[in-house]
């Protein structure tokens, strides 16, 4: 069993989430950009 299997996924999730936050700060997502509804 690979003991480091989940570590890359952990960092990947942080990178994706902060990428989304950065795009929101830059206005790509949100009221002025692409509207995301839920």
């Amino acid at each position: 069993m690979k003991s480091r299997g989940n570590i890359s996924e952990d960092w990947l999730s942080v990178i994706i989430a902060f990428g989304i936050i950065l795009l929101a700060i830059l206005g790509i997502f949100g009221e002025k950009g692409l509207k995301i509804i839920f």
Binding site: G5, L12, S13, V14, I20, I21, I36, F38
Partner: protein, 365 residues
Amino acid sequence: MTSEKKTNSAQGNHWLYHLIGLVIVALLSWLAWWITKQVYSSKDLFLGIPGKALEYPLWGALAGLLGNLLLKLTGVHHKVRAGFRTELFLKVGLVLMGAGINLALLGSAAAGSIIQALVMITSVFFFTYWLAGKFGLDDKLRAVMSTALSVCGVSAAIAAAGSVLAKKEHVTFVTTLVIVVALPMMLLMPIVANWIGLPETIAGAWFGGNIDTTAAVVGAGTIYGETAQKVATIVKTTQNALIGVVAFILAVVFSFKSSGKRKTKPSVRIIWERFPKFVLGFVAASILFSLNLIDGGKGTAIEAIKNWAFLLAFVCMGLELSISEFKQMGWKPVVVFLISTVFNTLLALGIATILFTYLFPLSNL
């Protein structure tokens, strides 16, 4: 095509199968979202239940189960399951959730969460390990099951298996049990909490301390209310953060118990290696939110994407459910797991009530 490529295709390791799996998850998530919107405005859906009570985790899990059934009937489930990334979607959602949680809430809930996590992990681990011993289960299966029940479900089972060098069948069996039990608990616990009349803070701490897998904790919290979702997540994240310590202790204990070639080599490094790094992202996002540098609060695009990430995770939970592993392991581990779950549920209710009512009240939320 080489023999290696043929094997990869058969197991669904080709990138195209990943992509198809992801597309299936996205389509089912959209279906769950659409159903949520349809029923949400209904004041009396059936039997007097208002549509608003049926939140998106329910429809996500049901859409996943429907997809699971269809994919198994058509024989393609094993090929496309590489695209079912429950943990990844969940962790993205959790970090984004941090962007809407103030450090003051994180701080006030953290003290109670740490004490609750220490009490719950120790009590549930030793109770399950002792009970599994009484039923004559294998020591390594006992360790994997006890860690899964006491810490954080699937990822804890995987970490414990690495520490004690458990068999792959043990991990598959325990993770299946975790999901099979967590799915109904995600839906039933908010109903029971409502029936008892628990405030959202206590209910959130109860879900976080009791339900094994983080996705189901977030789901139960979401169904119960916004504050319950936040408290449940903080409590569960604290418990997740301790997995490295548990994995290290297990590695040390089993290095003394094991003999021969398959002996564990404990190292303090395991504490960092097993530490869930998304917790750092969650705290960092919360700091940025508290400094007014980012806003992931209600009504923002970040909050909407967070909900989508959670919905994708709930759909994956339904898609990953499998009960074929039960036939191989017999009824004894199932009975141990269920008795320990009842113990976990009752203890978590008592601890959460005492800690968050009397010692660390969160009444200012």
